[in-house]
Amino acid sequence: MLIFDKVCKRYPDTGDVLLDVSFELHQGEMAFLTGHSGAGKSTLLKLIAIIERCTRGQIFLNGHNLHHIEERYIPFVRRKLGLIFQDYKLLTDRTVFDNVALPLVISGYGHQEIGRRVRASLDKVGLLTKEKKYPLALSAGEQQRIGIARAVINKPTLILADEPTGSLDPELSSEVMILFEQFQQVGVTVLIATHDINLITRMDYRVLSLQNGSLISGGIA
């Protein structure tokens, strides 16, 4: 479902960030993307969400070559992805409910459908009782779970998480990881960028390792 074919990304000022990266993720697969800071993990995720475009090579997502996606269709690609960030990227002046509902509001759902799905999603991450609270009133782990609830509400086929446990202690981290495993078990593909070696070794999943922009292991499934 996700294919990288000899993908290169070069920035004018920092040079090559990704070099000939090739790999393939299958539907329902869960994988870690690891490497030191600046190895290109975030850049790789940005290419999938078309926040950046690759300089060379091809990326296929659900059979679509991302290179051919016009600018105005990018939002529709993003709606099929679940993006999760280290800093959660929540709207602090909106309630938990409104934060989670945002992707559905954007996609033009009616409010009944929104209410139903937001509550289902919040229930999934165990925050159903906090829907009227504001994000800053919640703990770090809870905020990340709101981020996850928002990411999965559009029923994405691929979840991309960039250092999702970066701001969480080990206990909260494993809670979040259990959530990811649950999504993977229902057929969602999950790609998690992290440099948390403990986390990776504790969980037995495929690991894609980046070093100075090259994929040094895990490239072949």
Binding site: I3, I69, E70, Y73, K89, L91, L102, I106, S107, Y109
Partner: protein, 338 residues
């Protein structure tokens, strides 16, 4: 890797056959449900942008006042011009020409000339005023009756009053006619009685064009002020915009609340401008009415009527939206996700 290469080749050929746009899954099978959700979005944007405006009353009021003053300036010029046109409009009808014949031309010769002039294509009516009737008229109206009795002979010339056809509305044509008539050998002076009306009318035309130009410039001011206000607002809500973009918001979705903000600013500025103009006209009402008395009460002070007020609101709201749209169109493309 060779297996993967084969798959990529296959995908590429499939891709070429497919349209390059990702298929967007139907949000709802029920088109009404979707339409209702869309209307809900608009209503939500309309009211939430109003709410945001009210949250920062001082800033909003100041911006609205700046916009309102620009709009009020343009509309009060328009209104003053309208009032002035009402005055000159009444004077328009008369474009009579008086031909003062040379003093040695007798009334009889004058009558012959009048008949000749009557044959001209451009002439509608000719009226002869004999020396005697002119003297009688002068005696009645001037109040110099007794003094005139002292004169031995009648010093007044024979006068032919000529009214050109209405088709001669262009002042150049009338001037041409006056020149032609003056060339007749019996004619001493050909005078356009209402030449000053034409001067006034061309001045009014100039003023009208001036007001149009000024209004255009002031509209630009409104658009730029609005644009800058929205730019600051966008900067203020940068995080929100970026997050919305990340979860798949289109530019149309992101723009919507800002466009409504522009609409509200323009709308309130229009209402404020209307009030300013009305207050100005109320202050000017009594001096204008005094002027009206001098014009035999034929003159009525004009305010903005209902449709003009509506147009004022429409224009100010549109300028608000236009200014916002211009900035959004440019700024949203500049805003890059990190």
């Amino acid at each position: 890797m060779t297996r993967q290469n084969k798959r990529i080749q296959k995908l590429n050929t499939i891709e070429k056959k497919q349209s390059t746009t990702p298929r967007v899954k139907k949000v709802s099978d029920n088109i009404f449900e979707k339409f209702r959700a869309y209307l809900e979005l608009h209503a939500q944007a309309l009211f939430s942008s109003l709410g945001k405006l009210l949250k920062t009353p001082l800033t909003s009021v100041m911006t609205i006042m700046v916009l309102a003053i620009s709009i009020a300036l343009a509309s009060s010029f328009y209104l003053l011009l309208n009032n002035a046109e009402q005055l000159t409009g009444k004077l328009e009808a008369s474009n009579q020409i008086s031909l003062f014949l040379k003093s040695n031309v007798s009334d009889l010769d004058g009558l012959k000339l009048a008949d000749k002039i009557k044959q001209f294509a451009e002439i509608k009516m000719v009226d002869l005023i004999t020396k005697d009737s002119a003297l009688a008229e002068f005696r009645d109206y001037s109040g110099f009756g007794s003094a005139l009795n002292a004169l031995e002979s009648n010093p007044l010339p024979t006068v032919i009053q000529v009214i050109p056809k209405n088709s001669l509305e262009r002042s150049e044509d009338i001037l041409q006619l006056v020149a032609d008539l003056e060339r007749l050998k019996e004619v001493d002076i050909a005078q356009m009685d209402m030449q000053w009306v034409y001067k006034l009318q061309s001045m009014m035309n100039l003023a009208e064009q001036g007001v149009i130009l000024l209004s255009i410039i002031l509209s630009f001011a409104v658009v730029f002020i609005m644009g800058n206000t929205i730019r600051l607002e966008l900067e203020d809500r940068r995080d929100e915009v970026l997050i919305a973009k990340l979860v798949g918001a289109t530019h149309a979705f992101i723009q919507r609340p800002f466009l409504y903000t522009g609409f509200w600013f323009g709308f309130f500025a229009g209402v404020m401008a209307w009030l300013i103009v009305m207050v100005m006209m109320l202050i000017l009402k009594s001096p204008m009415e005094r002027l009206s008395e001098l014009y035999d009460h034929n003159y009525e002070v004009l305010f903005l009527n209902f449709s003009e007020s509506l147009i004022l609101l429409l224009i100010s709201s549109s300028l608000g939206v236009l200014g916002s749209w211009g900035v959004l169109h440019y700024q949203l493309k500049q805003m890059k996700l990190e």
